[in-house]
């Protein structure tokens, strides 16, 4: 049984009056103290009367687990989905059963992660649960940030009518779910290349696109370039204009490198380099995998986590799961990352690096090494300068100085032949990509 501040105040007042009464041999003071003490005792008696022994189970397990020992309060929870994207919603249903023969007034709070917002319903319920009755609480939470999350435990509290004492128990019922980074739809920023086969190591796949191998003939659509018109076929079709279609050149391996060092979390919780990088990596993975490319991922922070190249939908979920769990930790230099991965990737494969380009003296060397081995390097750099400037942590002079330094570093990287884009917070990923590739 726990005391509230109010009961402590009442108790100290009562004891003080009682002692004062005894010392001064004053019956009036003792009388007031006795009434206060009696009031407190009655409230305490009523609170301890409420038994809150409880247990918890997932709703799905209920059917298979009828033999479990019955206890007084039973909680079961069900969530609508265990995998969800940022800005998605999870419906939570909490069922509470009172298996005793006495009615209980309960305060129930289903603990949700602090970053989550309750969109509909409430996770905090005050109720009277009759004997052998059950009730259901439903609420919807919004998931604004990627990560691994847990709902629970369920806190059940019983207190006396005056709020003087309370009994509290936690029902250890937990539900884990995963929030994937939000994905932006990338149209064809990478495909609209001026050079048909941008990357070496490409394989032809049976999909029409901007490639070099003939794929099919089709009718002319206004807007098609005249150089694509197949005049011989047009002549055979009695003047109906026909154009050549080419197979798209697929890129065999694409490596995404995400910087998750401690510094990448500089800025507000929802607007920092790591958030932008993970979202971009998720969008790029989806885009390339839908093109049947093979995508690999390297996340480096305090350690280097990599996902080997693969294709398909399963690979997308593997990548998204890794991105969801990326934590801003450590300060591994990029040079170590590139040294480790370079022997394992095909020479000439495109490498997309998502980094704030901060506090890493090895970046220039790392990019130089990659370029010297003919890798196609694209650097998307979410500008944490802008995040901090927006958050008013940086004044104008500081911002200008640091911006100049950043521009110099990027110019140096561009000089090495890397495609570099200073990704400002309000810029769409598509725009940033196009900017990096110079379109």
């Amino acid at each position: 049984m726990a005391w509230s501040r109010k009961s402590a105040m009442f108790a100290s007042l009562a004891v003080a009056l009682y002692l004062l009464g005894l010392v001064l041999r004053n019956q009036q003071l003792v009388t007031v103290a006795v009434v206060l003490l009696s009031f407190l005792t009655w409230a305490a008696f009523r609170t301890s009367h409420a038994d809150v022994s409880s247990s918890g189970r997932r709703l799905d397990d209920l059917q298979n687990d009828e033999g479990i020992e019955l206890q007084n309060i039973l909680a079961m929870r069900k969530v609508s989905s265990s995998r969800i994207f940022e800005d998605g919603e999870v419906d939570v249903t909490l069922r509470l059963q009172n298996r005793s023969n006495t009615s209980k007034v309960l305060e129930v709070r289903d603990r949700v992660p602090e970053v989550m917002r309750i969109k509909k319903g409430a996770n905090y319920v005050l109720m009277e649960l009759g004997p052998q009755r059950e009730t259901e609480i439903s609420y919807t939470i919004e998931t604004p940030l990627r990560g691994f999350y847990t709902i629970g435990p369920v806190c059940v509290r019983v207190q006396d009518a005056f709020g003087l004492f309370h009994n509290e128990k936690e029902i250890h019922l937990y539900e884990d779910f995963l929030v994937f980074p939000k994905m932006e739809d990338i149209k064809d920023a990478m495909i609209k290349s001026r050079v048909p086969k941008i990357f070496t190591g490409a394989v032809n796949i049976r999909n029409p696109g901007e490639g070099s191998n003939f794929y099919n003939l089709r009718e002319y659509i206004p807007g098609d370039p005249m150089k694509k018109v197949n005049w011989k076929a047009t002549a055979r079709q009695d003047g109906k204009m026909m154009v050549n279609e080419f197979e798209r050149d697929a890129v065999s391996d694409i490596i995404l490198i995400v910087d998750s060092r401690k510094i990448s979390e500089t800025g507000p919780v929802s607007r920092n380099s790591l958030v932008y990088s993970t979202r971009a990596a998720a969008s790029l993975s989806q885009h390339f995998l839908s093109r049947r490319d093979s995508v690999g991922l390297v996340i480096y922070g305090d350690e280097i986590t990599s996902v080997d190249r693969d294709t398909g939908k399963k690979q997308l979920y593997v990548l998204l799961t890794k991105l969801a769990g990326a934590m801003a930790k450590g300060n591994t230099p990029m040079k170590i990352v590139t040294n480790r991965i370079m022997p394992h990737i095909n020479r000439g494969s495109p490498i997309i690096i998502l980094t704030p380009l901060e506090d890493d003296p090895t970046i220039v060397d790392a990019v130089r090494d990659l370029r010297s081995r003919n890798f196609d390097v694209t650097i998307l750099s979410p500008s944490s300068l802008e995040f901090e400037f927006d958050a008013r942590r940086l004044d104008r002079t500081g911002y200008e100085v640091l911006k100049t330094e950043r521009d110099i570093l990027m110019a140096e990287l561009r000089g090495l032949g890397a495609f570099v884009m200073d990704w400002e917070p309000d810029m769409m990923l598509n725009t940033a990509l196009s900017g990096a590739r110079g379109f």
Partner: protein, 308 residues
């Protein structure tokens, strides 16, 4: 020269866990020196409401994050009953607490202006009343605390008198005096409880209306509170009666066995004095403590569970 160049290009040091410095100065370090404002951005702070000291005294099941919404029926009825209790309490206080024996009375007599003591005494009760009224209707927690303190100061004034009351027409008899005292103490406790109930239920109502909390069967919860408001003071009054009248209860019990000893006990100075009351308190609270020690509340519940 060649060695120096080789050293510059070597990357082995990267694997030796050495700290490397960027050619450009660290932006973080510069930001630390140049920033104007160290304010943490709003979205970096989780929305957790930490109740203040006063809030946690008055807070009920839920402590609302925002200002109270207009009072609902429950709060209005509590405000009404609280204000009535306060008026009655102040009237009782005025009746049973004379200015004589107080520090301010002594001080005013010392400077030779006797009525100042009375005026000061009246002012304290007045602040208790006005502060309480303001706190009750404005739902101002600090004003309520001030009112409590003022009324307790007047209560402590009892220390200055033995059995003397403020007004001469009040009963002189022991039983009537004790009953009046119990009534006063009950009114004091009820005023404190009702006024803090206003804040608690306002917080709860605001939280319900803002969707922070959902309440199932609010009628049952409020009726439980109303029931407790009737039961708790009655119980407290009854226990106080038992304690205060221990000087009559013990001789009555002893008289069954030994009437002579009972007569001696009735005449005992100790039993009729404050020590008798202390003895009564010990007896009553030993019984209650015993009930807690054997976890009687839980056993009663288990028995009821088995019965039904």
């Amino acid at each position: 020269m060649v060695d120096d160049q080789a050293k510059l290009n070597a990357t082995a040091h990267l694997y030796d866990s050495k700290t490397m410095r960027s050619s450009a100065p660290s932006r973080k370090a510069a930001a630390g020196k140049l920033k104007q404002n160290t304010e943490i951005p709003l979205d970096a702070i989780p929305e957790v409401h930490i109740p203040g000291w006063v809030e946690s005294i008055f807070g009920g099941p839920v402590i609302s994050k925002m200002k109270f919404l207009p009072p609902d029926r429950m709060v209005t009825s509590l405000q009404l009953s609280s204000s009535i209790t306060l008026v009655l309490l102040c009237f009782l206080t005025f009746m049973i607490t004379p200015v004589t024996g107080t520090a301010w009375f002594a001080l005013s007599n010392m400077i030779g202006i006797g009525f100042i003591g009375g005026l000061f005494h009246f002012i304290i009760i007045g602040i208790g009343l006005i502060g309480g009224m303001y706190g009750v209707f404005q739902r101002d927690q600090k004003a309520l605390l001030v009112s409590y303190i003022m009324l307790i100061i007047v209560t402590i004034r009892f220390a200055g008198s033995k059995v003397e009351f403020g007004l001469s027409f009040l009963p002189e008899g022991e039983i009537a005096q004790k009953l009046l005292l119990i009534l006063y103490a009950i009114f004091l406790v009820m005023y404190m409880e009702l006024s803090s109930g206003i804040i608690r239920f306002s917080m709860l109502d605001t939280s319900i209306r803002t969707g922070e909390v959902y309440v199932m069967g609010i009628q049952k919860i409020t009726s439980r509170y109303h029931r407790s408001l009737l039961i708790a003071p009655s119980i407290a009054g009854f226990v106080a009666l038992l304690t205060l009248f221990i000087n009559r209860i013990i001789p009555a019990m002893v008289s069954i066995i030994n009437p002579v000893s009972a007569d001696r006990l009735r005449e005992s100075v100790e039993l009729t004095s404050v020590y008798g009351v202390a003895l009564g308190t010990i007896v009553i609270f030993t019984i209650i403590g015993g009930a807690f020690a054997v976890n009687l509340p839980l056993r009663i519940q288990q028995f009821r569970d088995k019965q039904s």
